[in-house]
């Protein structure tokens, strides 16, 4: 992030022109853009993070720890995984409604009618696996349904057997013999596509780094593998291998997912892989927006309580002790119950089901924010109290610098590392909390795709014999990878920013 700041304009230009091309494409195709509440906040978050990066890239005291983060091997591998999740979450956050082809163009004014379903770019990319709904449960890579049905044959006889799936593996003549071979050949050809893509990508990265270091291509390539620690220290080889692994995986999936149900189908026959991909956005929204909402309160109140002391301190302390004394789950449950009653009594406020589900997600973030700001606030209060007694703060007070300026110039920069560590550490806890809350019935809307809802739906089938395990497995794998990457990355961030650890 630091040494390559010269590359920012290039990347920015590419990103901006791609975005512009995309928006014009959307407008030409005649769709109606939909801005959900959480979408707006996600865009705000992206802007805030970009602003922070630009701000931080000029501050040396911020660059030093970041240089340490980019040298952290596990941290960078996790960052690659996190970026893939973020990418999926972002393309799932551009929503619009498709126009329904209107036949009655007899009148002068043609009013386009829009479809009731709010779609995102991800939905369009995944159109094939989104729409290929089977009848009910089917196992991963199955060609037949999971339950027996009575089938009437041409000669009028009835038999109980497992019917063929409507879409998955329908191109196979003899599924029993061809299935394994077809899966193998599809994975291999998809994997090769992935490798080709990866090679091109690696080439671009190496060229960029070589250009940045003003070195020739082969010297750069060599430095990736030999003695990388001494050269800037970014573990490029490891990063590229992780990207390569993901490329092969994604390549194989793009071949397999349209032809089979890679993670099976659920009770109403919907593809589980599609649902887990859609759940990514929900998980990320809860993990990030909650923090975005609570951060201003925690920072402002925490610093005020610690720095101003007196009655301000008393009031703020009372506020957070009261809030933190209510058991979190119960407060969330109570608030969400109340919101349910409110939505039930005002059904005409929301145009589409997605908007209703979205407002509930937003509300859940707010409530989670209210219950989670107290910890950070308490920490910041303590830190501000310490900083208040530091010599340079005392000196500026004696010189008559205004309170606001002292807070902005002296206190705020010195507590930012605490805020950053808290934000990154909270993320994984919030993603896990979503699953639990949805299970309790006070999480996201039941119609929204989320890992909690996926687990909850599968749990009802626990007593079934044989077990329907694939929804559970898919949700747990995707959640586990996200949370593990977040935890490992947050460790890297904490190691770099926490002054107590940095000293050693």
């Amino acid at each position: 992030m630091s040494a390559r700041s010269s590359m920012h304009p290039v990347f920015m230009n590419i990103a901006v022109s791609m975005l512009a091309a995309f928006i014009t494409g959307l407008l030409i195709s005649g769709v109606k853009p939909v801005l959900l509440w959480t979408d707006a906040l996600i865009y705000l978050l992206v802007i805030a993070i970009s602003a922070f990066i630009i701000y931080a890239s000029k501050k040396e005291h911020f660059l030093v720890p970041w240089r340490q983060v980019v040298q952290h091997k596990l941290g960078m591998v996790s960052l690659v995984f996190l970026l893939v999740y973020v990418f999926i979450g972002l393309i799932d956050s551009v929503h619009f409604r498709m126009p329904v082809s209107s036949q009655n163009t007899t009148e002068q004014v043609t009013e386009t009618i829009y479809d009731g379903d709010v779609l995102s770019i991800l939905d369009v990319v995944l159109t094939k696996i989104r729409t290929q709904d089977e009848k009910t449960y089917s196992a991963p890579f199955a060609t037949h349904l999971f339950s027996k049905e009575t089938i009437e044959h041409d000669d009028g006889s009835l038999t109980r057997e497992y019917p063929r799936l409507k879409y998955a593996g329908s191109h196979l003549q003899d599924p029993e013999n061809d299935l394994a071979g077809d899966i193998r050949s599809k994975s291999i050809s998809g994997g090769i596509d992935g490798i080709i893509f990866w090679l091109v990508l690696s080439l671009i990265v190496i060229l960029f780094v070589a250009h940045d270091r003003k070195e020739n291509f082969f010297l750069t390539l060599k430095s990736f593998f030999v003695g990388s620690a001494s050269r800037g220290g970014v573990p490029w080889a490891l990063i590229l291998f992780t990207v390569g692994f993901l490329c092969v995986l994604v390549g194989a999936m793009t071949e397999l997912a349209p032809a089979y149900h890679v993670f099976g189908t659920d009770k109403v026959g919907q593809d589980v892989f599609y649902q887990t991909l859609k759940s990514i956005r929900t998980g990320l929204v809860i993990g990030t927006l909650t923090t975005l909402i609570m951060l201003p309160f925690a920072v402002l109140l925490g610093i005020m309580a610690g720095f101003l002391q007196g009655w301000v301190d008393d009031v703020i302390q009372y506020l957070y002790t009261t809030l933190s004394s209510i058991p979190g789950v119960l407060l969330i449950a109570a608030a969400v119950l109340m919101m349910q009653v409110y939505v039930a009594n005002n059904p005409d406020l929301f145009e589409t089901d997605s908007e209703r589900a979205d407002i509930r997600l937003f509300f859940l973030c707010v409530i989670l924010g209210v219950t989670s700001w107290t910890g950070l606030c308490r920490m910041l209060r303590g830190e501000a109290m310490k900083l208040r007694e530091v010599d340079y703060v005392q000196a500026s007070q004696a010189l008559g610098v205004s309170t606001f300026t002292i807070i902005w110039r002296h206190i705020q920069p010195n507590v930012m590392h605490i805020v950053l560590i808290a934000v990154v550490l909270d993320f994984s806890g919030l993603v896990l909390a979503e699953a639990v809350l949805s299970y309790v019935g006070v999480g996201v809307d039941p119609s929204m795709h989320s890992w909690g809802n996926l687990i909850n739906g599968a749990r009802l089938e626990m007593a079934r014999e044989p077990l329907v395990w694939w929804s559970l497995l898919a949700a747990f794998i995707f959640m586990f990878v996200l949370v593990l990457s977040a935890n490992l990355f947050s460790d890297a961030v904490r190691d770099a920013f926490d002054p107590r650890i940095r000293k050693q």
């Binding site: 009261t322 004394s325 119960l330 449950a333 626990m462």
Partner: protein, 325 residues
């Protein structure tokens, strides 16, 4: 000491009033009793008389905070806010929206909750301490590095996975214990073993890592160097010196949750069909029984405050340098 405890207890009163105010706002102002009645009686076929009767049965038919029909002080006291608040402060939780006596239910249901929560708490802390001491003993070696990575991996697994996986493996495949249910007396053991085991395993990752950090911080202090200089073995240093001093921050974390053990665990209890307070709360949430949720919110806050006071007291016992005043 006694002075301090009394003062802290008095401090608790404004906090409980605050909690009460928040629950009142949530349960009666954002949604009026009429909304709740309609929700309970069903949206469609509901007559004003039925709503009125539902409210009367539960004492929700009074004015919110100011009763203009009453006389004198009654104007303020004969309202939903005061009536319901005073009931809570005397720990008289009244009847649930479904008509059951909440206090009786709580007194019955806290025992199964404790039967699960206390073993998880005690054995869990001992397990985590053991693992953390082992990892701290081998600090800065591969055992330490991999121990921490395993802890992070264990932390990253959803708690639901431990429960579902444990139920499947031990209950369904190995048929060792029943998957869910509860019984009184000695028979309870076979029902509690699995949830306790899963509760402990679920907590190992975060617990061990946290305790390890505490121990490492202690190890870098001067008195540990002195102890080593005296020629004590590494095991003695860890066990006699580091563990005892490390217990102070560990106590803070442990004592504060001690009273909350009564409340039980929402998820564990509902998955294993244990009739404790956790599943009581979950059932109340699912059946939208506001009276129970309100009572549990209040009870939880009161117990949390008790936990805070206990923490302070335990500090003085564990660390003679700390004096409460």
């Amino acid at each position: 000491m006694l002075n301090y405890i009394i003062r802290r207890t008095l401090y608790a009163i404004p906090i409980l009033i605050g909690v009460n105010l928040i629950t009142f706002l949530l349960f009666f102002v954002v949604n009026t009793p009429d909304d709740m009645a309609r929700m309970h009686l069903g949206m469609k076929r509901v007559t004003p008389e039925a709503v009125q009767q539902w409210k009367e049965e539960r004492g929700y038919d009074k004015a919110m905070v100011f009763n203009s029909e009453a006389q004198g002080v009654e104007r303020f006291t004969d309202t939903i806010f005061i009536k319901k608040s005073i009931e809570l402060f005397t720990f008289d939780f009244g009847r649930s929206d479904a008509g059951r006596d909440i206090s009786y239910d709580i007194s019955q249901r806290m025992w199964p909750s404790l039967a699960i929560a206390i073993p998880i708490f005690v054995i869990g802390i001992l397990t985590n301490l053991t693992f953390a001491l082992i990892v701290a003993f081998f600090r800065a070696t591969y055992i330490d590095v991999w121990g921490v990575i395993i802890c992070v991996v264990l932390m990253s697994v959803s708690g639901l996975f431990y429960i579902i996986g444990g139920q499947y493996l031990i209950g369904k495949v190995l048929h060792l214990v029943p998957i869910s249910g509860y019984d009184v007396g000695a028979n309870a053991i076979k029902f509690t073993i699995l949830p306790v085991l899963i509760g402990i395993i679920g907590g190992i990752g975060a617990g061990t890592r946290w305790y390890r950090t505490i121990f490492l911080e202690e190890i870098s202090k001067d008195y540990v160097r002195t102890a080593r200089a005296k020629g004590l073995s590494e095991a003695t240093v860890l066990y006699k010196h580091v563990l005892r001093n490390g217990m102070i921050p560990i106590l803070t974390g442990a004592v504060v949750v001690l009273p909350l053990l009564f409340m039980g665990s929402l998820i564990t209890e509902s998955f294993f069909g244990i009739p404790g307070l956790g599943s009581y709360t979950i059932d109340a949430i699912n059946s939208q029984d506001f009276a129970i949720v309100r009572a549990m919110v209040f009870l939880g806050s009161a117990l949390y405050i008790v936990g805070l006071i206990l923490t302070d007291i335990s500090y003085t016992i564990a660390d003679p340098r700390i004096r409460l005043q």
